[in-house]
Symmetry: none
Subunit: 214 residues, 4 copies
DNA sequence: AATGAATGAGCATTCATTCAT
DNA sequence: TATGAATGAATGCTCATTCAT
């Protein structure tokens, strides 16, 4: 493929990410993608056989992105366990804020078919394996709940970050707060970490007990 | 409106709930709704001006449903505070399982417009006010974190229940477990409650400490 | 189906016969058919699922026509045997002249797929069975060649009539005559009958022999 | 034109013959021809201005072929007159079997435009003139009907051969025989020759009469 | 001479919506 | 109240043809 073609293909993919994340598979229009990419509609069919295939490539593209970013977690070590919840929660929160296409495409994908779910797994497993080891070590030193599996732990953190963005519109109403405001987000993050805290919480109750038992 | 008309309108609405929750606004077909409702397409336009309005009515209808069910919470009292997390989490989990149209329409709504968010608020406020009072009382007696607002507390519980269903397809891959299995769900519920526990957790650490200090 | 619908469907079919016979399946345009029929394009899809089905209906329609006209042959009796070749040849010649859509659609059909050939058989069998009986009787009285089957006899007559019209353009060049001219056609018919003649021919040779043997 | 160019042009033409004879002008795809010829699509436009012109060249090419083969007829002499019908009929039958592209392109041409008919004439005239002379001589000796012109005689033979192949699909149904079977073809050829026979026929009736009159 | 990249007009088909009865 | 008939504006996709290298 010539350089020009690579660029054209790239522009199409970028435009497609925006359009599909915006409107979903059924709502997205091939014409709109072509116009946004500044190319002839036919180019789309030359590079991506059809709308369906283009959508698959979009999903793969965005899902790969989260995997790439999670590679950062490989730098974490056992001594990061006490702050792992905060690190993960902030990471996901900021990722969703920076790349809103991700949660949107994830949501469309879950609503519309789930055909591309497997990509996500393939792409995240390395980082998750690493985090899992740290978590298990942390469980032994009492930093994490012994009865809470790593899967559930990660599930809850993911749910918080995803739900915060995915349901922002309805939540802002229900909770009477503007979730788009960074200050609100910071406050929510802190409160969630308090809610999930084991270490800090243990420390404080320990302190309390020491006072009592003394 | 005559009795026959009321029934026809009802049949259309039910069919529309199914179709819209299944395919979303853009994916849904007016023809399909008409056929499913066993009426002529034109009836839809007679009762609901257009597809857009019909979608609004569907959202209002399903959002009202969750409000009705949350009326149950009015029976709770201050002494239910210790189990409130469990009561709420199970309620939402089971509600999502029983009425999958809700989380689906909620997701579509958040993805596609968010125009109808206000309905949710109107409809849930009574129950939430009641729960809020119990929560605040619980905070004072140490059952709930003092630094965690009721809004955030409810947000986390909602997030868990919603995410469990809304992202089931991708999660089942990521977590390597079949979330559709009731046993898995029960396990996840228990682990989540452990993670969020304040009272129980205190109790158990207390017991531990007592054992140690004896 | 209401009267109006019957008429609309009929107009579409007529326009489709013209367009398909003119341009063949691939060359025909749905838009053109709709315009020619004076209806909205969508009506075509309402009455005939798609272009393919519409083509099938067109073929069935025109093939049925030839069957209907061949019903006339049922009036023939054994005493018509001496003129049967002329009757048949003229019938087919005039039919092709009157309904040029027939040989054209037959040609398209043979070139493009042959999927609808079975219709022709179903529709002509009654008349053919009748002619076959007369032919066999004629063979016994020496009117028809004993070594020439009815099938081949009919095949040759059909070939002449079909080829005269189907290859008119190229033939007019090859034969240096304007086949569209009725006088030329009459001449060709007469010559062909001479060529195929058994009875007349026998008569003349008989006459000759009588002259000789006398 | 360089040698390489000649070869490329030739490959394109061959591929085009196949594609056009298969699908006709409207059904044929320039892409398919390019791929089949193993060349870049643009080459087609370099050698043949456009699809239309390419089709013309294809027609000219295949029409020339029949002329070349008919050159064989120049070897025939007056003493071949008794078997001329058989020679011609078998020639055309076998030619159609060997080069199905001919009758197909001839049929497409007649259906779609007839613009290239003149080529056929130019190319066949020499052989036809020769056959015409033999035929006229044969008429004088009673081998051919005196009232049947050479043009009509040739027309009937051509019609039989063409129709046998061009309408094979529909005929196989109508006649209840598999015309693709060589044995069936042989039988049909024999019967047709019986039907057209003048000389043989005279001979046999003569024999019959001699038997009777004795 | 040859090729990959790009385009505009077209094409079968669908959809939300309105009309006539 | 209810239905069958009809429409205009898309919508995904293809095709012959041209441009740039």
């Amino acid at each position: 493929m010539q350089q020009r073609a690579v660029e054209t293909r790239g522009r199409i993919l970028e435009a497609a990410v925006r359009e599909f994340s915006d409107k979903g598979f059924h709502g997205a229009r091939v014409d709109v993608i072509a116009t946004a990419a500044g190319v002839n509609k036919q180019r789309i069919y030359a590079y991506f056989a059809n709308k369906e295939t283009l959508f698959s490539e979009v999903i793969r593209h965005i899902f790969t992105l989260i995997g790439d970013e999670e590679a950062l977690f490989l730098d974490l070590g056992d001594d990061d366990a006490p702050h792992m919840s905060e690190i993960l929660l902030r990471h996901y929160m900021f990722f969703h804020a920076r790349v809103p296409e991700f949660w949107r495409l994830l949501a469309w994908e879950n609503l519309e078919s789930g055909r591309h779910a497997h990509v996500l797994k393939d792409v995240r497993e390395t980082a998750f394996a690493h985090l899992r080891r740290i978590y298990h070590a942390g469980q032994r030193t009492g930093i994490f709940h012994e009865r809470v599996s790593f899967a559930t732990y990660l599930f809850v953190l993911s749910a918080i970050a995803f739900f915060y963005y995915a349901n922002q519109r309805t939540l802002s109403q229900t909770l009477n707060r503007d979730l788009a405001d960074p200050a609100v987000r910071e406050q929510v993050i802190r409160e969630c970490l308090s809610l999930l805290a084991t270490h800090d919480h243990l420390a404080s109750t320990e302190a309390m007990h020491q006072g009592v038992s003394r």
